[in-house]
Symmetry: C2
Subunit: 330 residues, 2 copies
């Protein structure tokens, strides 16, 4: 690999001059500039980025941590992040935490040793106390996750409203017996706490009370959806509608319903969450909560770049709206 010295030698000029040409400095005679360019072309010279960085020039790659990229929600998010980053001349280093605390820490370490200049966390496995120290090495922005105690830029969705408008929609359709799936434990302060709040709020407003039998916790997959439907059908007091918390679970519910001859939405109305492409493939097409993933990715990159360029930039919390997408399953 040719170095700047080779170029200098070939062009009969000094390294300094070559460097100036490379970095577009003013005050170089046209003639020498051309001589240098000629020599660079001839040698196929490419600046060594490690030497440059060592010397202090800024780097240009950002890291993104997601739980699993095969989840369409996250592949769409990464897509958006990659596109935005590219527009801004940043590269994207992609990581899957696989919901593994140690893997997450491994990735955060890349920030520490400056393999990346900043990180977008779209998953967060460790407690904030253990993540927080890494912010001293470079900016971290939270995306689709948030922690009240974390004083970092955050881009998130209004999950309270997401659940609220979903439940509300079911109520307006005349349902009073509404089952509910959550990815967490339906605790005050755990995973999905915002959605839980929206759910409770909508019920309260309508004067309905929660039937604990109709709460399904720790649900995530299509298989979960199938088993939920079966459990529902086995109840003596059956719900007539279900808020599933994800399109995948909703798909499982609908598939199982068909198997059992349960009609959707006549016998059971089903509402998903995410508005994934599959929502339109399912029969009946899925009513669901649409999330502005694209915009979320853009904003996250925007915030991150802001922080990278300006260490003291204000820490913004951006909340994006969700909306109801009514189709045929409710």
């Amino acid at each position: 690999m040719p170095t700047i010295s080779d170029v200098a030698k070939l062009s009969g000029l000094s390294k300094a001059t070559v460097s100036r040409v490379i970095n577009n400095h003013p005050y170089i005679s046209k003639e020498k500039r051309e001589r240098v360019e000629q020599a660079m072309k001839e040698l196929g010279y490419v600046p060594n980025p490690y030497a440059r960085r060592l010397r202090g020039t800024l780097t240009s790659t950002i890291g993104v941590i997601v739980p699993r990229i095969v989840n369409p929600f996250f592949s769409y998010l990464i897509n958006s992040i990659e596109q935005s980053a590219f527009k801004n001349n940043y590269q994207v280093l992609m990581f899957q935490s696989n919901e593994n605390k140690e893997k997450e820490l491994y990735f955060l370490n890349l920030l520490k040793n400056r393999q990346v200049d900043g990180i977008v966390m779209a998953a967060i496995e460790n407690d904030w106390e253990v993540i927080e120290p890494y912010t001293q090495y470079g900016p971290i922005v939270l995306c689709n996750e948030y922690l009240n105690k974390a004083n970092v830029p955050t881009v998130r969705l209004d999950q309270v409203k997401g659940a609220y408008i979903g439940i509300r929609h079911l109520i307006e359709k005349g349902h009073t017996k509404i089952a509910y799936c959550t990815g967490g434990l339906f605790a005050e302060d755990g995973k999905d706490k915002d959605r839980n709040k929206g759910y409770q709020q909508a019920l309260e407003e309508a004067g309905l009370t929660i039937n604990p039998n109709w709460i399904f916790i720790n649900k995530h997959t299509m298989e979960d959806g199938k088993s939920v439907l079966k459990k529902m059908m086995a109840m003596s007091d059956r719900p007539t509608a279900i808020f599933t918390g994800s399109d995948e679970i909703a798909a499982g519910v609908i598939i199982a319903a068909k198997q059992k001859g349960v009609r959707v939405p006549e016998d059971v109305a089903v509402i998903g969450f995410d508005d994934q492409p599959a929502a339109e493939m399912i029969d009946p097409k899925l009513t669901t909560i649409r999330q502005p993933i694209e915009e979320m990715g853009e904003k996250a990159v925007e915030q991150l770049i802001l922080q990278m360029n300006n260490n003291g930039a204000a820490v913004e919390i951006i909340e994006l709206p969700v909306e109801l997408q009514v189709r045929d399953s409710t």
Copy 2:
């Protein structure tokens, strides 16, 4: 950021000794080793990777180029690549070419200036003649794509067989009028040429001839699938089965069929390709061709690492088998 000199100073030893500790050299007294480790911890010292690389130590990131990550096929592929790379202590820089030649070249340049040590190309937009020169900067392996003229490691699927067993299955089910979708132009030497070959081969063996009206070219999306079904139904001589070339197209066909009251598989049998998760969500569940994506990603990483570690390693062409997954749409 503390440097190796800071550690040396604090521990009262030389940079050389500190470096030896960092790199696990033998022949260091236990006592000094501990003194160094203590100092490192105290300072929160992290070696600067750019300096290390400048000095000659190998880097550890590989690039992956895919057309679009939101295509489940590729998100699963990237997933597999990321997992394999991680196991081998490599990081993954992810790129979407968006089927754009220039973007592809931009990424290939990262190889040139050593931002990545090697590249897995799961998409290939430019002619090989323009890509080939980049191989001098680092290894490139082709994944799910191949070019006869390219003398680089290649991991691919047996597409001829993929189409062949699909069509064969339809024939065995008694179909003789079989429509066919291709992503290319059904040309001798273009996109999907292998599948075309498998299609023709299966028909020939069964003594069937190709009806040009039943060939649909340039099809990719669910929307394409819908319009294909409509066109089929408008024909006087209708096919009774269709090989769609992708689960997405198949989904579109089935959705449109339902709308029109066409029964699947009674009136039209549909076969997909890929075996994406959606294949099980669709009603009827999709018969499709399963591709060993996981294995493909692993092999690609394996080949790439082989090349990176051993410049002269043999160039292997690995062909992975596909298989028929029979469900309810045929």
